[in-house]
């Protein structure tokens, strides 16, 4: 059974979620100094509540994706202390259950893409733990945002691993939730206890679904395009910062480092970016990707070619964050338009 439940208003939903805050960490998109991110929400002013409502139901993802709540930018995973000549190794506390409210279909698909990397053998325990502990409440967009290209990547209606789908009934102002997983069912039960009601129907989004790009075709076009002078041009324009990779919801590279102080220390992992020159630098000083061209090319080839070959899907969800924040305006479009053009010219 897939129960549909309804809250009278968004405010009631927030209230119900707030009641669950002893059990769950509640995360929702908020604005701070004009910057939109998913953040844990606690006590909120009326103004903040309306921001959360606006961003949760908006047809465009916020600047930050949900990624940091499953794959944090820094994460300690071993702590060690030297005591009486012996090394005492501990693993820090387990993650807490969390609800992510107002995630977008592109976020869901991006997590599914990261799953392909982190949940396949060998399984990444840190990620798995958080993934299992996360309940995603997904708002299906009704139309596309200004920078969105999710239609090309077949992401618009994808809600495969969403736990609850969310939709607003414009006429009654009700917020409808439809559970579609075990975790979703449990949360729906809990929300019912907090004053939400059962509802007979769920409103399906109106979004028209366009035919997505064929991953194999893109991969083939990319491979044919490898020697093009276009990459030289693109690399000349790129300034080599990590904005694109850090805001990308599917980028998942990390670096492992140790922090040490006297008799104790910690081993942590932290986001790394293939745009940094030291990303591929080896201990002996050799760098297999010495130039910016190699690095720029790698980023696009990883998403549009290697990922297809290894995991059978394009490594991009078309959320448009990279292009929006790139200081020199390089986006997925820049490349896709070019390879498209090049393929047609043949």
């Amino acid at each position: 059974m897939k129960p549909v439940i309804a809250a009278k208003s968004f405010e009631q939903l927030l209230k119900a979620l707030h009641q669950l805050s002893s059990k769950y960490l509640v995360v929702a998109p908020t604005t701070e100094d004009g910057v939109e991110h998913y953040r844990p929400i606690t006590q909120m002013s009326e103004e903040q509540k309306s921001q959360v409502e606006r961003l949760s139901l908006r047809n465009q993802p916020p600047l930050g994706s949900v990624k940091p709540f499953l794959f944090p930018d820094s994460e300690i995973y071993i702590e060690f202390t030297k005591k009486d000549g012996k090394l005492d190794v501990q693993t820090p506390r387990a993650s807490v259950p969390q609800i992510i409210l107002g995630a977008k279909p592109c976020d869901v698909v991006s997590l599914e893409l990261i799953d392909k990397v982190f949940l396949e053998d060998p399984v990444d325990g840190l990620y798995q733990e958080k993934r299992d502990n996360t309940v995603l409440i997904v708002n299906q967009c009704d139309e596309m945002g200004a920078n969105c290209r999710c239609d090309d990547f077949g992401v618009q209606r994808s809600t495969g691993s969403a736990d609850l789908l969310m939709s607003k009934d414009e006429s009654s102002g009700k917020i409808l939730l439809k559970a579609q997983s075990e975790k979703g069912n449990i949360l729906a039960e809990e929300l019912l206890k907090e004053g939400m009601e059962e509802n007979p129907v769920f409103r399906e989004p109106k979004v028209p679904v366009k035919e997505a790009l064929e991953s194999e075709k893109i991969q083939q076009a990319m491979d044919d395009f490898f020697e093009s002078p276009f990459w030289e041009e693109l690399a000349m324009r790129c300034i080599g910062c990590a904005t694109c990779t850090f805001y990308c919801p599917t980028c998942h590279c990390y670096d492992i480092r140790d922090f040490q102080r006297k008799e104790q220390g910690a081993r942590y992992r932290t986001w790394d970016s293939c745009m940094f020159p030291d990303y591929t630098r080896m201990a002996g000083g050799h760098n297999p990707r010495p130039t910016r061209k190699d690095r720029v090319q790698n980023r696009f080839y990883h998403k549009l070619s290697y990922f297809v070959k290894n995991e059978g899907a394009l490594g991009c969800v078309g959320c448009g964050r990279c292009g929006e924040k790139c200081p020199v305006g390089i986006s997925m479009d820049t490349v896709l338009n070019r390879i498209g053009g090049e393929v047609n010219d043949k």
Binding site: I76, R261, G265, A266
Partner: protein, 144 residues
């Protein structure tokens, strides 16, 4: 209650030619100064860049002291002129960011000013004892 038991950690960068000699003289003259201070000898006070100061704070220092030759006495002629320029900027930037700039002390101490060295360490230590532990530029991992 905190003030009574709190012993601040002070990192002192002492220039090889004047201040380190001053500290040395204090030692041979059997002057007693608080053991809160950890001296690091540097070739010149201008060797200390802002990164070293912040690094000390991050790793648990409650105060940082930079001691160099009196202006005009620098072994390298202009080293301490650079020091005072940079450290003034660092202090004002720290203040601007709301950090405790008074935890950074710059002092000119010559090779024969053992007393001045002792007095400086004493007054800086007691000042830091009153201020309590530094928490603002601290890396909190592994902090007991």
């Amino acid at each position: 209650m905190m003030q009574d038991t709190f012993e601040p950690k002070i990192i002192a960068f002492c220039c090889n030619w004047c201040s380190y000699a001053g500290a040395d003289l204090a030692g041979t003259g059997r002057l007693k100064y608080p053991e809160n201070i950890r001296i690091i000898r540097v070739p010149c006070s201008s060797r200390v860049d802002s990164a070293l100061v912040l690094r000390a704070f991050q790793n648990g220092a409650d105060g940082v002291m930079i001691a160099g030759c009196h202006p005009g006495d620098c072994h390298y002629d202009t080293g301490n002129y650079h020091t005072r320029k940079r450290m003034m900027l660092l202090k004002s930037l720290m203040e601007f960011m709301g950090l405790d700039e008074e935890r950074l002390l710059v002092k000119w101490i010559s090779g024969n000013e053992a007393d001045r060295f002792k007095d400086t360490v004493e007054s800086f230590t007691s000042k830091l004892k009153k201020m309590g532990a530094s928490g603002k530029v601290r890396d909190l991992r592994c902090a007991k």
